[in-house]
Amino acid sequence: RISDARADDKPLVIFAAASLKNALDEIAGDWVASNHTKPVISYAASGPLAKQIEAGAPADIFVSADLDWMDYVQKKSLILERSRLTLLGNKLVLIAPRTSSATLSLVPGANLAALLGEGRLAIGEPSSVPAGKYGKHALEKLGLWDQVQGKLAMADSVRSALLLIGRGEAAAGIVYQTDAAADANVRIVATFPDDSHPPIVYPVAVVAASTNQQAQPFLDFLRTPQARTAFERQGFNVIAP
């Protein structure tokens, strides 16, 4: 059991957004290779993770896919504010099923409705799923929101949205570039301009209650070139210096 382990080889417990699994698993491997104890990573949606930290979860590091939930825990002084760092960035793309030949350039006034036709636009649930939140913001900024508001299919995660598009249920959708690039069933139609939405970032921080000496070193490890390669291989851009 985690709490019973001796302090020196007590593994790090990382609460991380599920979308980072591939990259973080690889980096964790590298971390072990450089003579550290294997960290324990609990992947879930950012919201539950934040609430669990609030409820006293034995986490050392919180990697959020969402600014709001990191702010939530910070406001409650559950993280070490000085350790907080904006680690990764991502891009938002408009995708369609692989078989689709639609084209569209994402400029104000573009005819997204025509691209959808009778179909729906799959998107993360805008109030709870970060990708949806960014997507809604971008569409509003581009003045396209009203065109599609009644045609949304709101998924519970960006992966579910991707699935809906990949299966051809939805005519198009908005997901992260990282997810779109890895899925052969979808085709990227266009990338949203960076200024159409707040920067897509993945903040990380050490949990305030953590007593694990390895927490800060691991956070530092996430900024090494080795880690950077791993993140980039999954399509993220590493923002942290």
Partner: protein
């Protein structure tokens, strides 16, 4: 001022309440004949292949709901295995429709419904069915006049379990038909969404109470019906 305003619900939430009722009712009633048939076959059949059917029936219980939702998508989606066929020949379209939510609920609740009915069927004294046969009743008539009335408790239990499960089903539904207000946004998906927003708990709890209220009402009705039925069947 309408009822939902009294409850402090938004129009959208009120829609979700109505939709949930519809989805739960349709899911329960539409799956009932299938549930009953499967329960009967599992209770009475002797074919060794039934072990497969039994396994399949239990799958929605065993699988994480997202997986079930995923499999539903592969099967009943617009481009799924059965989806196009059903749409063309029976006019049944599930994708992004409340019918899809009902299907997801029905599938998730199916093992519960089947098990309750099966238990009741297994408890029926088969000597009574034999007696009905000797009075000239062919098998179907025996089922309708003897078996069915005797398993009313199991049927009611199956229906209420299915209804309650439908009121709470969320994972498979949202994966299968996503979350479209007015079409597929049921109470549980609305609650889930609220739970995912920082400080959304209060709003969620209000909906939770509505959901509990509906389910408890259904429960009380089902208990009352069961009591009536068993009161009719015996007393001593």
């Amino acid at each position: 001022m309408s009822g939902w305003e009294l409850l402090g619900l938004s129009a959208e939430e009120w829609t979700a309440v109505q939709l949930s009722l519809r989805v739960a009712t349709v899911a329960t009633l539409a799956s009932f004949p299938f549930g009953l048939a499967v329960a009967y076959v599992l209770a009475r059949g002797t074919h060794p292949g039934l072990v497969i059917l039994n396994g399949v029936v239990h799958l929605p219980l065993v699988l994480p709901p997202v997986v079930t939702g995923y499999l539903l998508l592969l099967t009943f989606g617009k481009h799924g295995t059965l989806g196009p066929f059903l749409a063309e020949h029976l006019g049944l379209v599930f994708s992004f429709r409340w019918t899809g939510a009902a299907l997801a609920s029905a599938v998730m609740a199916f093992p519960l419904m089947v098990r309750a009915m099966r238990l009741s069927i297994e408890a029926v004294d088969r000597k009574l069915e034999v007696a009905a046969g000797t009075l000239g009743a062919p098998p179907l008539a025996v089922f309708v006049t003897i078996t069915l009335p005797l398993i009313v408790p199991g049927i009611l239990a199956g229906l209420i379990l299915s209804f309650a499960k439908s009121m709470g089903e969320f994972g498979a539904t949202i994966t299968f038909v996503s979350n479209i207000p007015g079409e597929t946004q049921t109470l549980p998906t609305a609650i889930y969404t609220l739970m995912q927003v920082p400080d959304g708990e209060t709003g969620a709890m209000r909906l939770v109470l509505v959901s509990i209220g509906i389910s408890m009402a259904a429960l009380v009705v089902s208990e009352w019906l069961a009591r009536r039925a068993s009161g009719r069947a015996s007393l001593s």
